[in-house]
Symmetry: C2
Subunit: 239 residues, 2 copies
Amino acid sequence: MVSVHLKKLRKHVTLNAQEEQIVRSLVSEVRKFAPDQVAVRGGEPLNSSMMLLSGWMARVKDLPSGERQVTELHVAGDFTDIHSFTLKCLDHDVVTMSECSVGIVPHERIREMTETHPRLGRIYWFLTNLDAAIQREWALSLGQRSAISRMAHLFCEMYERLQVVGLASGQRYDIPLTQRELSECLGLTVVHANRTIQELRRRGLIELENRVLIIRDRKALDRVAQFDDSYLYLDKREF
Amino acid sequence: MVSVHLKKLRKHVTLNAQEEQIVRSLVSEVRKFAPDQVAVRGGEPLNSSMMLLSGWMARVKDLPSGERQVTELHVAGDFTDIHSFTLKCLDHDVVTMSECSVGIVPHERIREMTETHPRLGRIYWFLTNLDAAIQREWALSLGQRSAISRMAHLFCEMYERLQVVGLASGQRYDIPLTQRELSECLGLTVVHANRTIQELRRRGLIELENRVLIIRDRKALDRVAQFDDSYLYLDKREF
DNA sequence: CGAAGCATTGAAGTGCGTCAACAATCGTGG
DNA sequence: CCACGATTGTTGACGCACTTCAATGCTTCG
């Protein structure tokens, strides 16, 4: 099951057998989570991180007044909170959006890896910087794109990210999010998220039913989203 | 001049003499930039990063249609683009907001540091994760806070960050940003940014004149901003 | 079968955007 | 030192994208 994480890694870098072995041995145990659980609570001291093996999770930040912003979505293959290795505790919660299977990675093993295999250390440094690049694109969406453009952009991004781990093909993928959760990603109200989805449907760009998204016209969706995948760094690099 | 960066580092971690020496030797040369220059263009391959020694810079992302979003502000002591070490090229531009003095840090030296001094590697990994935490807080602002709350929050954040490097005290600091630049940070139009500043002035929370910000009522400003500094990780940690 | 969550719709309100004008300030060259 | 255009800050009128409130039906599930 750690394989899905290796699948993602191999998209960005070439690993030798020994390195793959070390990556596999990062996981100390596998845990299951039900949907809508808080897997990590912000502010609490942590001594392990989570490698998401199946399902969707999200990083969420809440205001005292109750509004919630999702700052990043995570799918199989992602480290949801490897940044807790250096931060010690998080500035946000990590919550499940579906049933999830998670590989627990003790910080001690990450630390050891940075000591003995600096190249792997740089590779995981890269992964957290990739997360930051995604967060920047979301900030661009939140600050400058219209509701319909933001929604379209999210659908494009998740398609590309899911394709990396083999969970999207043929212009369709499973998306466990409710419209409320989508609205929390995009800084919209539920009502407006609903109307925005309907507008995308009306234009013939997507279908969305029973937690399945079908992209009917990807070209047009890209155009509405002003989508450019270069922020996802989907090519191989040296470390 | 590298001292300002060490000042920031010492806020988060205790360094020994040898480590301080290595940090100092990261900088290969010092360059000056005039205001409103593009210091790094997104998409271009890079082999060095920039340590900001004086002045303000910003990470900006532009849409093809011309709208601009600032995703993070940088002040003296910050690495503006140490993430380019792992990303190789950036998904955004780095631009000067004032006259700037910059220490150039060849990626080769960072790489060497991760090989020979893994602890420093982890510390710089932490710094990029700190940037990401700031970006998350901005996403929360952009998605959920009102214009006045966003503006107040930015003023609070920059006060705290400037204080770390001794550039803010007595409830005032120099802020080189125009109202247009502020609006690009906050996802507002210039006109509305102007009205928002006036409202903060009218309520007696701030004064802003001649590129100097005076915080008249920090308590009230915190309340309007719903500001909580924990995302800035202003305490010492082990690595 | 009832309760709870979710998607949908309508009507009305508002925070912020747009457009346009003008004042104040700044930088630059003569 | 002043003249001048360019940038920046300010104001008013108006418009719209999105919010708010409220109601309804649909689905899910204990």
